[in-house]
Symmetry: C2
Subunit: 345 residues, 2 copies
Amino acid sequence: MPRNDKDVAVVLAGLGQVGKAFARLIAEKSGPVRSRYGLNLRLVGIVRKRGTLYSQEGLDGASLVSEAERPAGRPEAWLKDLPLSDLLGKCKPGVLVDCTPSSIRTREPGLGIIREALCMGWHVATAGQGPRGLEYAGLKEAARRAGVDIRCSAATAAALPTLDVGVISLAGAEVLKIEGILNGTSNYILTRMEEGMSYGQALGEAQAKGIAEPDPSLDVGGWDTACKLVIIANAVLGTAVGLKDVGVEGIDETSDQAVRAAAGQGRAVKLLGGCLKDEAGTGWELRVGPAVLDPDHPLFGVRGTSKGITFTTDTMGAVTVSGGKSDPRGAAAAILKDIINICIL
Amino acid sequence: MPRNDKDVAVVLAGLGQVGKAFARLIAEKSGPVRSRYGLNLRLVGIVRKRGTLYSQEGLDGASLVSEAERPAGRPEAWLKDLPLSDLLGKCKPGVLVDCTPSSIRTREPGLGIIREALCMGWHVATAGQGPRGLEYAGLKEAARRAGVDIRCSAATAAALPTLDVGVISLAGAEVLKIEGILNGTSNYILTRMEEGMSYGQALGEAQAKGIAEPDPSLDVGGWDTACKLVIIANAVLGTAVGLKDVGVEGIDETSDQAVRAAAGQGRAVKLLGGCLKDEAGTGWELRVGPAVLDPDHPLFGVRGTSKGITFTTDTMGAVTVSGGKSDPRGAAAAILKDIINICIL
C-alpha cells in the first residue's frame, strides 16, 4: 500500500556500552524499520561528556562507534560548546535516547537531560535506572504535560519485556503479586553454586567472563534488582515507592550450603524481587532477597544469566515472561522497541 | 489530576460461555477501569441468535447473564427485528466484541458482524479464531481504511499474551523462530500420560473435568493449535498464510509408550506449534505436532492446562511467555485488555 514514511529524529545521550550498541543497531536496522513500520529513523546527534556531534542528514552510528573506539578518536569533530537545548532545537522533536551512566546513586546527568528533552517536546527512551526509577511520577507527569511519551524498557531488564506485559498485557486485571528474577549476574552465580561451586569461585568465574563487574556489589547485593522492582511497581501497580521502601538482602549473604541443600531437595535458591500485598491488604511490601523455589514455581527453570518475572492476577491467572538477552545489544534492542512503539501510535 | 472520562459504547455479539463471562466481567470491572484508565465502558447492546437487547444508558451484564441462564429467560425483552446496523447506528461508535461461535469451519456469523462493525467505524475485539485467522489481511485492511483497530487476544491463547509480546515487545527485532504450546487440553492430556495414564484414560479424565469437549477432535487433532499459529504468524511475521499451509499432526496419534519413554529420559512430549524458516531461508514452514523437549527447553516446564510460547530473535535472544488462564473468564479478561489498549491510545 502507498504511504509516506514518518521522519523521526533521534538524539543519543551517552556513548558507553549500551550507547555504542544502540548507535550500531540503529544503523543496522534502519532499513527493516523503514520497510516494516514506515519509520525513517535518523540519528541526528550524539551528546557525550567530551562534546556533541550533529548532522541534519543523520550520522552513521556504526562508523562513529568504530572511530570512537580508536585510541585517537576524532575529537576535532566533536563540538565543544553546543548546549543540549540548542542541539534539540535544531530539528523537529523526535526521540531522545538516554544511555548516560546514571546509576542509582548518580541520577545526573540523565535526569537533567531527560527533563530538558521532555520540556522541548521530545519523547524519551531511557536505559537509566537512576532517573527513571527514582523520579518516576515526576517524569511521567512532565511527559504528560508536554504531550509526549517516556519509556524505559532498557532500564527494567532490557530485552525481557517486564513493563509491556505488566502494563499492556494485564490491562484491566488486578495484579495481586509480582515476583521476578531481575538480575542476570546473581542468577548466574547461584546457578553455578547449585552446580557445586563456592560463592567466591562462581563470582570469580562471572567476573572472568565479563558477566559480573569488577565491583559486583550492586548486582550481588540486590540493589540492581531493587531498582528494577521499584520502576516496575510504580508503573504496574501505580505505587509511588522509592528504593528506601524496599527491604534488600543480597546473595552475598547466602551460604554455599543453603544453595546445595536446596538443590539436593530438587529445589533452587533464586534472588527474587517481590511485591506482595501488606498485611492489611491495602498497601504493598517490596522485598529483594534469596528465596527457595519449588520445581513447580514458574521461575524455577530460569537459569544462568536468564531473567524472568511472574505476575499473579485476579482474572488472568499467573503470567510469566522469561528470557531476553541481557547484554548491551539486548538493551539497545529494547530501546529500539520503545522508539518504534512510541512512534507508530 | 483532573480529567474527563472517555465514554466507550460496547456491543457484545454472542452469549455463549465467553460472552457470558465478558458480560459479567464488564459489570465487575467498570469501576476499576474508570478510575485507572479514565474509560467509562457502557455495555449498550447484546446481539444473539434469539434477538437483540439495547439500552442507551447501559445494560447490567451481570444480571442479564443470570436471567439468560434461567430456563424461562426473559425472551420478551429481546427485540426480534433490530438489524445489527440499526443497533450500531444508535450511538457513537465504540467497540464491538465478537464472541459468536465462529469455529475454524464456520466463519459466520462472526465474519459478517465484524465487517459490518468495522465499516460503521467501530473498533473490534474478537474471540473468534475462524474469522480472524482466516481473513486476517482482509480484516486488517478494512480496519485501516475505517481508521479503527481490530484485536484478537482472546483468539490467540486468551490470557496468554502471545500477540502483545510478538508484536509489541519484539518490535524491531527479527523473529527467527516461533514455538508454542497453544492448546491447554492436549497439554493436560500429555501431562497426565507422562504421569502414567493411557491416552484414553487421560482424555476421559479431561472430559469429566470439563477441560476437554465431548468432541475433542479440534484440540487433540492439533487444529486449535494450528488456527492460533496461523493468526500469530500473520500478525508477527507478516505472512499471509492459512490453515491449508500448516502441516498438522495431533496427539491422538502419539503412543503412550513414546510419552513414557521420553519421561524416563527426563524429557517431555509436548504438542508444539512451530514457525520455522524454510530451507531456502526466505519463507516460513508452519507445523503442528508432538515434539520431544529437553529439560533446558524454555517450554519444558509448561504443564497441565498451561500454555506458553517462545520467540527466538536476532537481537533480543529468546523470549518466552507462559501461563495465563484458559477458562472463559481468562478469555473475557483478554477481551477487556484489548478494549482498554484500543481506547487509551
